[in-house]
Structure formats: C-alpha cells, structure tokens
Symmetry: D2
Subunit: 456 residues, 4 copies
C-alpha cells in the first residue's frame, strides 16, 4: 500500500504546496515515509520517515520551486523501515533526471533483477521500484517515454501504478490489469494525478476521469493527453480498495467507496440477519457498513465503542501486569449504550482475531447481554502479492479455521462474513474485472516466483 501524486502547476511557487496537500489527503495510504520531488531550474527532492506533516515544513516547501512535482507516501510493510526505501526514487540517466513514485508490487522482481545484474547493473535499494527505474531508463535510450512504457510493460508482471517526472514531462501510468487506482483532475492551476479522487478534492480541483488500465496520462508544456500504452483481456481491480483502503469520500473507477461500504452493510443484514437491540461499528473501520446494516435491518444504530482520537503511531506498551489494557487504550465501551442490550458489531475484516476477542469482551463487560459479530468481507484465505501487506494479516485466522471455530475464538454469540457474491454485488462491477485473489486464491497472473518476496 502506498499513495502517489503528480502535480503540474503553472505557478512554480505553488507546486510543492499542492503536492503536499494532495499527499496529505492520501496519508491513510501510508504513514511510514513521505517524499516529494519538484522539477524546476533545479531538481529538489526531500524525503523523510513519518507523516507528511512531519517530513515537510513551510521552509522546505518554499525552497522547492518548479512546475512539476511527484509525491509518495509509503506504508510500513515490514519491521525494517528505512529512509533508503522512501520514494520518489530519483535517478540520473542519459536521457535526463527521472523521479518515480510506485504503488504496487512486481511478481517477477527477482528474475528481472538477476537479468539486470548479469548485465553489470548495481542496485542501491532492495525495491522493485529501482528495477522499474532501470528498465525504463534503458528503454529511454531508444525512444520516448510512451514507447519505453510499452516495452517495459511487456517485461513487468504484477501491479505497478506509477507517477513519474522525466525532465519537463509528468506521466501517470496504470498497469494493464489496473490493480491499483489512478485518477486525473484539473484545476485553475493545472493538473493533478493521484491514487484517489479525495486528493483531487483536497487541492480544489475537479475530477476529469480515472486513468484506465494500460493507459498513460502525459502532461507536457501545460498540455495533457491520455495515451493507450497496452491492452489486456481482463482487469484486476483490487477489491480491498473498496472494503478497506480507500477513503470513503473517494470515487474509484466510477464507483463511490462510501456507497459500496453502505451496501456491504445492507447485504450483510440480508444475508445474516440477527435479532438485536442495537448495531454498532467497530470504529472507525466498520462505521459506514454499520449505518447500512442499521437501515436494512431496522435495528437502532448506537455506538457501543468510542475511539481515543489521540492514539498515535507510537505508544507505551502496557507491561506484563497490564497487558489486557492494550485495546482499552485505543477504544472504550459506552456502558450506558450497551447495558442489558443485544449488540451487533460490524467490522470490515477479522485478521488474527485477538483484537476482535478483546472488543467483544469489552462490550460484554460493559453489560451487553449478547454480542453478534458481522464482517464486511469474505474470509481472507490467501496472501496478496500485489502490494497489500499481509505481514500483519499473515497469520490469517480464516486460512486455518472454520467460521464456527473463529466465532468461539472471539467469544461472539454469532458470527457471519459477507459472501463473495454479496461483495461483488456491493461493488457493482463484473466479477472478472476485480482482483479477488486473497479471498479465492485464484490469482490474475502467475505468482509462483513472488512467494518469498513482497514489497510495496
């Protein structure tokens, strides 16, 4: 998971600021590191660990002058988080400077890297982004950026939504299967390319349209054009963008994320009804689906749990004797709401089950008579090789346990997941256009090489 943005702005003093604000609105897509490269008379690049607002300040933004910017936020996928992995990656090539921001993951990274190393290439990072940068640079020796993208697309396998600056040109590109989203907006200042439409709203621009799978958007000297680079028989849009990743106010490939999540709640209520006095989200992930569930079922919407809005990324761990407080720090039950009630809790997924158990217990201890758990997605049974960190979702409870076993584990009175068909119905897209691999173990491309190697 990562977020990418590109900005073309006619006022060179405004560019870095617009990149900042659009990245800021994509912060949910990655909190490990942030970076912006601005191409002007001079190429400015600044990257750092932490939130966008921690990495940049007024002074830094003011220094970064130019008409083109590329930005990136990175999700912490492993314990080892290092500044070397922060993006955009800036390389100097025969054809000029190239800044590249990447959302996705190659599944043939190892063999591509070996091939390059056999030709004498040396690598500074361990990221597949450096492989992409080197391949594009090579192709740029023989042609323009669109033909380079065409050639490279035939070599790469996996997911790769890219935003790049090459000299005076800003390019957005979405791989032929379109795993990860990319959308273009236009404002008075110029153009913005971003992972999600909320980043276009954030800079006061209006959405033009999504970049289609296999399509590039090229902005040069103030002119924008969409160029078809590659075609594919099918699409493989990541369904988890709708379930979990994207911000609810974003519209991805023409479909409102908020709408999908509310429908998920409605369908869940139809598929797995329950007699209860109140329905509550697990905050914040279940909020929209819980509203939908309440409307469909007629069960009163009432918050069973309140989240501490000041929980940061780093916090003191309760030691041995107060280990049970670890969830209490983050949220608390509203006793006056749940006391004596039959409560339905809605969450977007169950990962290891340990947190769900603590939440169920907390609601019970606050006086709930019954606690029913409803999950807004089918069980996750298989790893993702296209950029979603399953290191936290790795010991997936659903890959080894039945629903009844999980229910027992989390101590719920009842448990139900959304059906695969229900999910597809909520999204409202053809099943063949979605990547559902983590739910079905049916991968849209060959992933045999990638097993041991997952990266943003």
């Amino acid at each position: 998971m990562c977020g990418v943005v590109g900005v073309f702005c006619r006022d060179e003093n405004l560019t870095s600021r617009l990149a900042f604000f659009s990245l800021y609105s994509l912060q949910h897509r990655g909190q490990e590191s942030a970076g912006i490269a601005v191409f002007g008379d001079y190429i400015h690049i600044h990257k750092g660990m932490g939130l966008v607002s921690e990495v940049f300040d007024e002074k830094k933004l003011n220094e970064m002058r130019g008409n083109i910017a590329v930005g990136h936020v990175r999700y912490s996928t492993t314990g080892e988080s290092r500044i070397e992995n922060a993006q955009p990656l800036l390389v100097k090539t025969k054809s000029g400077a190239l800044a590249i921001a990447h959302n996705g993951n190659l599944v043939n990274y190892q063999s591509l890297r070996e091939e390059l190393e056999n030709g004498g290439a040396v690598f500074i990072t361990d990221s597949d982004t450096e492989v992409i940068a080197k391949l594009i640079s090579k192709q740029l020796l023989n042609g323009d950026v669109v033909s380079a993208l065409k050639s490279v697309s035939q070599m790469l396998s996996g997911s790769y939504t890219l935003v790049m600056a090459i000299n005076d040109t800003l390019i957005g590109y979405r791989d032929p299967l379109g795993f990860k989203p990319l959308i273009v907006g236009e404002g008075d200042f110029g153009y913005v390319i971003a992972s999600e439409s909320c980043a276009i709203d954030a800079v006061g621009a209006r959405v033009l349209r999504d970049v289609e799978p296999g399509e590039a958007v090229v902005i040069r000297e103030g002119e924008m054009e969409f160029v078809r680079v590659e075609r594919s028989d099918r699409k493989a849009l990541c369904v988890f963008e709708y379930i979990y990743f994207a911000r609810p106010d974003s519209i991805i490939d023409g479909i409102s994320v908020y709408d999908v999540r509310q429908k998920i709640g409605r369908i869940l209520a139809r598929e797995s009804p329950v007699e209860a006095d109140m329905v509550s989200p697990v905050p914040d992930s279940g909020t929209t689906s819980a509203i939908g569930f309440s409307k469909e079922s007629g069960i009163e919407y009432l918050e069973a749990l309140i989240k501490n809005r000041y929980v940061g990324r780093t916090f003191i761990l309760p030691n041995q004797s107060v280990r049970e407080l670890s969830v209490k720090i983050k949220m608390n039950a509203v006793k006056s709401n749940v006391d004596g009630k039959r409560v339905v809790l809605i969450d977007d997924s169950i990962v290891r089950g340990t947190t769900s158990r603590k939440i169920v217990d907390m609601v019970r201890n606050a006086g709930a008579k019954e606690v029913h758990f409803r999950v807004g997605s089918p069980p996750i049974i298989s790893p993702c090789y296209f950029g979603i960190d399953m290191s936290t979702r790795e010991e997936l409870i659903a890959s080894s346990k039945s629903v009844e076993e999980i229910r027992e584990e989390i101590n719920a009175d009842s448990l139900a997941y959304l059906s695969l068909d229900g999910l597809v119905e909520a999204v409202g897209m053809k099943k063949e256009d979605l990547c559902l691999a983590c739910l079905t173990a049916d991968y849209p491309v060959d992933v045999s090489e990638a097993a041991g190697c997952r990266r943003c």
Copy 2:
C-alpha cells in the same frame, strides 16, 4: 481546560504506567503539555510540551517508581505556550513535598497574589496554581491537609478541581461549587482519581463514585476515605462538559455524556424540525447529536463529510493563493451522498462562523440542493472565567449578531440553536445546579476582578 489524574498503586513499578494510561485517555482535555510526578523513595517529575505519548517513553516511565502519582494535561489557552506553565507544579515546603495538578481558574487570583507578595513571597510562574500551592503550604504549617483545604477554600473564588500528592498522601479535591468534574475508581492495583470516568475505564478499574462539590478524597497507606471539606448552597457544574469537552463514553455526576448528546439531537429535532433528505454531523463534534436528530425526525442518517484522520496539530498553511483549502485539508464532502439532496448539518456550536461557512459551501459545491444547520447548544454570548478558553471563542458571533444574521453569514438555508430549556432537559439536572454563565451571562460567583485574567 485541563485534565487531572491521581493514582495510588500498591505495585510501585506500575504507578507511572497507570498514570500514563489514564492521562492518555484524557488527552482530549489538553494537548499543549503533559506531566506526571511520582512520589517514591525519591520524587520524580517529568513534564514536556506536546501529547502524553510524545512527552513520555518506556525509559522515562520505568525510572519513575513509587506508589503515588499525580498527572496533568494542559490545553493551549494562549499563543504563549511555555514549559514553565506545564503541571504538576512541584514545591518543597516545611511540611514536605507537594505536587499539585489543577483544573480550573481562580477569579480572585490578582488580589490573592498581591497579598502574598506583600508578605514577601516571590513567584516563579504566572499561574494561579502557584498561588494555591503557596496558600496550602502556609496552612499546612498549622494543620493537616483537610483543615488546610478548608481554610484555603474560604480564600479562593472560582473553579479549582485539584489532585495533589503530599508526602505519602494522595488527595483529590473539588471546589464547593463543583465547576469541574472529579471521579474516583478502584482497581486491583489500588485507586485512581481522574477528571472523567473514561480514565478509570482506561486502567481497567471500576468507578466508585464522583467526588462531590466541596468534598475531598484522601488516600493514605492504602486506605481511601471521602471527607466533606466545605458546603455550598448551590452547585455550578459546567454544562459544556456535556456539550463538548468530555468524551462521550464518560459518565459525569451520574449522567452519561453520550446520552445527553443524543437527547440534544432529539430535542433539537423537535424544537426546530425541517424537511430534508438526510441528516449529517459535522465530524466529529456533531456525531452523537446527529444520530439523535435522525432517530427523532426519521430523516436518514448519512455522512455528508469525511474527516482526514491524520490532521495533526501543526500543519502547513495554504498560502494566499490556496487559502480556501484550509478546511478542505481537514474534511471533504462525500459527493455521492449529498448530490441533489436537502441536507441537515448538526454541530455542537458555532464560534466565529467562518469554518461553518466553509463547510456549508463545501456541501453545496458537492451538489446539495439545500443545507440546513442545527446547533446542539444555545448561542454563546458571554465569556467564561472558570477555565474554558474563550480566546478561540472570543469573537463570538452570537454576542453581536442575531440568528438570522448568522444564518446569512454561514450561507445556510435555515439555522436553529437548541433552547436553554432544551439543553437543561437533555442534561436532566436542576437548572440551579449547572453553570450556564456563558449562555446567560449570569455568573455563579462575582467575576468582576477576573475580566482581564483568564488561565487554566
């Protein structure tokens, strides 16, 4: 606005950690500075600017060993935020060490300070807390802490909820009018005193009861007792704890904050009904009241606005040319929800009106046909001298404009405030027991001296 906690814990290694977690859950009461003093073989004190989780780390907490802790979080009331003002204040007296954490504001601070200075006292800080510390210290020369509190209560005017450690004793005290809340909990480890019940939940303890106005709770050698220090004919419980300050999962003076806010929404719906297609909170302040409004009115609950969960305290200001983005950074309209709809927005209050205007415009620009604004409190017309920062609420729009003028200013199709009677009904307390001064300009004590001098 500040938050205070006190912890007595039989395990001296756990005390600082419990103080940390309880303060952490009171973070909403103050984000400027945080501090904890622990009394053990040695007196440890650590204070710093910023959030609880920024000020403390594992190493620091491990060093602070002892059975008694006093903690404080401070709200930024002025531009001048300084470490010198962080609490607890630790002083050394003839009677031993005294750590004091204060929530409230004296209205006769100036005259008390002058009197002390005339006696040769020197002051290190500009805070009324140092005045309280000096007065208590003086009285401790002549008697125990309860008699000292009795004497001092007769001198002090204003609001002063205190948590103090004196040598081996932990004391909580609430001024005779009880402006600010204080509550006591018991856990397996010992006792906890805190501004709100959510801090008791946070450390896995159970609520015993609120400290009453004019009452002290004294914990010494593991024994806890409530002691009546002072009596008053009336109470003056701050109504804004229910409207805005307290966490919705807290129960204050026996009344659920969540419950009050939901009732506010219901009463608002009855008092000021409107034909509309959806009701939405201004997040997060209007959430609970909007749910109540939806239930009472039957109008569908749907979020018109999504908040960026990563907005920190410091952020880059949009410069001149992008000034209009300042609210967009914090929240965004959900186009698919509001498009073509008549929308009711619920917020807890209107301060200057500028933010409300931007929000109304944002919802209109996203396609709303009509935007109606409902406010969960009566108009604020008069400053608070008891500890609520009105520097941000100072240029109160309601003190100089009529409701119709405000409606025009914020560009809403209709605007209505909750009535004073509606508010009192929602709280469910006798009107005489509440401090409603900021809504009525009728102050429970003489505030003539305090006009130019407000402090936490």
Copy 3:
C-alpha cells in the same frame, strides 16, 4: 563553578547578542546549561541544557529585546543535571521582576532555607540561589537594592558572586570575602559585568576594573557606579581560578592568569629539577606551565601528546574488552618525539590518578626511556565548600596517599608537586588574601553545616 555576565546596552537590539558572546567566552566555566534573561518592554528568559551555542540561535536572540541582560553558564556538578537548575532564576516580587545569576555556594544554606520554610515559604528548586532570591526579595520590601544586599550579606555565609537585574537596574555583587571573581568593562554600547576579563574582550569592550570583595556595581539609566556594601578583615580569593579554572587570557584581580601559570612552571623547575631530554604538557591543562618549566630548566619543549580536538561531551564508552582505549580516544602519544627520550610531563593537578597512570603508560609504550611527572599545584587534600565541584575530585588520591605512593601508582620515574609557598609566589598575592582551603584544610569561614550539601 559557573560563569555569570550582565550587559547594559543602549541599543536594545544588541543586548542579547552581547550577552551571548560574553557567555560564549565563559563556556569553559560551565557546559551543563546556559541561560539569558533580557529585560525590555517584556521580560524574556531562555534557558536550556548544553552549550551556549546549542541553547541559543539567531531567532531566539532576535526575539529577546531590551537594554539589560543577565546570563549564566552552569557546570555539571552532579549526575543529575536538570533544566530546573539552569539559571538565571527569574522571580516575580512585590518590587518587580528579579533575575539572578549566581556563582558560588552558601555554607549555611540549610539553616537559611529552614528559617524561610518556617515562615511559610515554598521552594521550587533545591538551589541556594532560590534562597538568595527570596531573602533579597524580602529585603526589597524595606529598601533599595544596595541596602537589601547589605542586609542579606549579613545573613549569607559562603561564596556568592551575583549578577542581577531588578526592573531597570543591573547589579553585580561580590561577597565580602571575594571568593569568585567579577569584573566590569565599558564599551561603546554600554557596560558589561562578567566573571572574567576574557568576556569583556569578547564583546570588544575595555576593562574598567575588578569589582572588589563586598562591593556592588550598579547600572541604572546608563549610569554606572561602584558602591561599597560590606567590609571584611580578610579576602579569600579562590586560588584555583589561577591554577585551573580561568582562561589563560583573563586578568583576575589585576593578575594575569597566563603569567601565574608560566611562573608555576618556572618555580616547579627550580623546586623539583630533573635530568631529561624534553618537557611536555599534558594537553591542554599543562601547556602554559610546561612552557615555563622548559624556559627555566633549559630542557627542550616538545609535545609528547596530541589531543583529539573533536572529543565532545558525550561519547561511546569502550566496552569491557576495549576499556584500555578510554584515554587513547582523547589523546595520543607522538612516537617520533618521545622515542628513546627522558620525558618530563607537566599537569595542573592529579585527581584520582587513574588518568595520569594511563598517560604515563602511553608515553612509555611510545618509547620513552623515563617519564617524570610534575604537578603545577600542591596536593589537594580537603573538599571545597565554595562552589568547586569535588565530586570528580572527591576520591582525592592525595588525601590518603604519600607522594611516593602516588608516584608508584601512576608508574612515573619521579613525581613532584609545587609547594604551597611556590604557588603563593607564582600568584604574587598575600597568602591571607587567598582561599587555599582545599590545599590546607584551613577554611576562611565555618563550614561545619555545609559538609553534606554542595552546589554551584
């Protein structure tokens, strides 16, 4: 050990900067913390842990506008170094604001504090400076600052060189025995008061004269006058200012520090001659005396040891297996200089002897045939209660061992200390005017109360 400065400057924009530069030149007197208070329309105070150049920056200095400044650098006397102990101490009194910077140590601190506490005073710090501040504040209720200093001088026992600002007045004061130095300079900008003359040079001013023991210098509305506050039969000027503390370019009480140190080397050469091929300082403490020793003895001056100029205050400790490197990190022998030579090493003192041993061994291992050690002061046999940290000099080797035993311990071929008479001759002052207590155990005032309580 601390350094103090006071600045009166007619240009209010320059004052903080002049205080900064003069403090900067006194950095050798204290590296733990630094602070400056500037009195202008507003009272600015800024203090921090670390070096002057770490605590202050351009922005901070520019903010601090006014005509009077008081500055302080503090030496780390204990492991517990805390910002609370940083000076100047700023207190608000009936008579106005008082900023006070103190160099010295009271020997009747405990009884003075108890007396104040019995009167109801509370203390924020554990420093004797707060006692002084409270006593002065009390006396200011009854008279002007000179009469206050007179009264307070009769209460205080010990060393106390003070620089203070009270409203529009800058005052320097030196206790009646004059333990610690204080000197006044005049520049085009106004006046500067400082611990040493090098601070007057640093701001381009010229020395007027030393403040005499029992004398105050008072600067108000641009007028400077010296006022006799108290008289004493004797003086007690700290001899270690000449031996070790002061910068060699300073002139204290009319005597050049460089001169004294060179004479120490000459007298040492006469008192304890030795056949040798070269004489070398232990850098940097022995440099000036080694030059004197070389001149008197005719033995060639050649550096046996080179210091690493980048050794900072904090550094990685060699672990168990490389413990012997601890001195090598700081200095290294010059093999080509010492190989096959009889070497005389000159240092200003021997404390515990462990470092001296490592240095002697290092010079031997680099090829020296003989290593003779000469010390530029008599053996330190008794603790100082007047402000010199003996916590590092505490386990004084000379208090329990004979010179021959020490020689054996440090593995030198010969060892000699300067005689007490030689030291007095080098300084060129009457013996009765010096404090030689640490060398003779004969204290100029009663120190019985102070045994357990030493502070800057």
Copy 4:
C-alpha cells in the same frame, strides 16, 4: 578531504566499536557526515550528518554485528551538504554486496559517467564514488577483486584511496600515484586499515606498514596479504597532508608529521629571520611550526593568542554592528604576553587574508609594538583537483597578489612564506614523489576535464 577506515575483527561484537574509535580519531579529516557499514549475517549500514559521536550511539553500534567494517568521514566541500552523499556507498551486485569508502577525486569522472550512461546505467548520486562502484561491479563479473581493481585502475584518472568490503573480504587500495595515504595495523583483535596511523593507535593496534601506491591489502578469513595491483613511474603524495591535513601524531609514508611541521618552523626561521621578542602560533594550525621557529631562532616561545576551546561548527553571527567580533569569538590576545613586544606570528597558510588581518590587528590592539607574519608553506596559487576543497581556499589571495601586497593587506610589519625547496627539505622526500600542484600549477596527471567538477 575525507577519512576512511576498514576493520577486520575476530570478535563480531567488537567490530563496529573499533570502526567507531578509528573514525573518531580521523574526525579532523571530515566533519560533515559519518558512516559505517558492518558485514555479518546481515549487512548493517548507518550514515548521518554531523560528527561521528553525533551519528552513532551505543544502541546503534550494538546492533551492527559482523567481522568486517568499512567507515568514512566526509568533509563539507560545498554549501549543499546532503545525506545522499554520505559514505560508505553500499551497492548490491551480481557478485554480492559491495560497501565502498573513497578518499580522493577522479579527474575523468564526467567521461566515465557518460560512457556508463550510454550503456543504460542510472545514477542515484552525483558522486564519483558511484562511478567507481559501478566499474568495479562490472569487472567483478569477470574475475576476482584484485583483477577488477587492475582493470579499473586503467580507466580511472585522479586520486582514489579506497576501503571496501565485498562479501567476506576487506580490501584497502591506494591509487598508483598514491595521492592520499593509507596504512595498515595489526591488533590482538585482527586488522585495521586507515587513512592515518593515529587511527591505528586509537584502537590499540600497532602499525604494520603503509599501503604503497598501486598496492592493495586484502583480508579474508583472517588472512592478510599485500598485493601489487598496478605500477607507476612516479608518485604524487599530497604535500598538504604534512602541512595541514594530517594529525601531528600520525606517521605517513614513514615520515612523522610532527617532525615535518617542526622542521618547517626551523627552516622558516633560517630563510626569513626577524628581530623579535617572542614567537607565537596562530592556534592551533601554527603550533608545531612556531615551536620549531623558536628553537632555531632563539626567540622566546610565548602564546600571543588563546583559542576558545568550545567554538562549535554552528554559531551565532555577530550582526552588522558587531561584525568585528567574528574572530574575537574564536580567539583572544593575551595582553600580558604581547604588551610592548615585537611579535612573530606563525600560521600554516594564508587563504583569503581577511582572518589573518583580524588576528594581526587583535595582537596590535593588545599592545604589540611590531607584528611579523611567517607562513609554513609556499603561496597557494592553483586549485587542487584531487580531493582538497579549494572552495574555501578559492579566492586565493596569493594567486593575484604579490607578497608585499599581501603584507600590506594583512597589516603586518613583515611577511614571509616558506620556499618550495624549504618545504621539500622539511618533508625529506624526493620532489618527484610529491604532488605540489597547488603550489606550482604543475599537475601530475592531465586535469583538463576536471576543471568544473571537484568532489571528495
């Protein structure tokens, strides 16, 4: 200017610490950034801006476990100091991981880079070190490290002393002309390679011998061997190592730096005698030569100037009105030493002349009757292209002015430089074995390409 070290240590827990201490002793060779790579089960690399002691702490060193370490300190050659330029550079190649630390500068960097770019290579940094890394990596595809170094040596022109780790092998290499020094030591723990012998002393090891120009030292599985890689007809040892860069306790190519500097002073006294009362160094750069000058001339050695030992890298600039204080902050005249005297000042070089002027004036103002200036090197008239930063020495006063003009500019009564022959005599090496280009404009290799491009 940079410093490089390599450590092979049999105890994997000690390696990083030994690298740290040896780098620490080379801090004078570069204060901009520091870095260490340790090769163990895992490859650890840590780099940062600032001093060695600021970049590393106990925790970091403890984490870095392995038997081989490569370290680097970097000198700030340009205003733009960036973490990206910090070394060692770590690259991943077909043949394994390669960490490389470089002291020197290529003069054919541009053409080498272009050639690589034409082959499709992309560059992450702007440093010639990346060029070297890529060329070596390419050659490693065809042979071992020694044959790779042989091939690469035939491509590279300029100065390049390298310390590298490749998998389990530690290599030191000095270019065929041997511009920059490299020396090998052996300790109980294993081996250490470093820029100067003081780094070998610092870890308690003994010097084995210098690495000769064109020679490599290879350490693998605990075995060390010297391997001749390349031969050259001549050498070009940088003479400024003796004059200025190296620490005086180092022995470079068999010659004691201290010795050379003392001889410089003696020869200067013979070449340019002067009637005077005292000779003094400009501290610290002129100290050793001043001692030599005093001995040869018989003029008394006495310090005219004392340096503030706490001057850090960053400090507050005196503003307009106190601009003249800029040198006073760093050093001060000792009035009692210079008053009424004829003073000879010795410095190692004159760059722009502005500082020398301020120093001469300071000594005059302190009372000196005459001030004579003697410089321990011939005039610098031409830029260095082999790694010495002339950006600070760029506006070289000697490149445009006669000695008499410079004397006038710095306001000295007389001025003399060391002769070129005198310098060669002081070093005691054949003239043809030295690089004297900056003094003669006669470069040992063709530098036509390098004019616009100098780098460490």
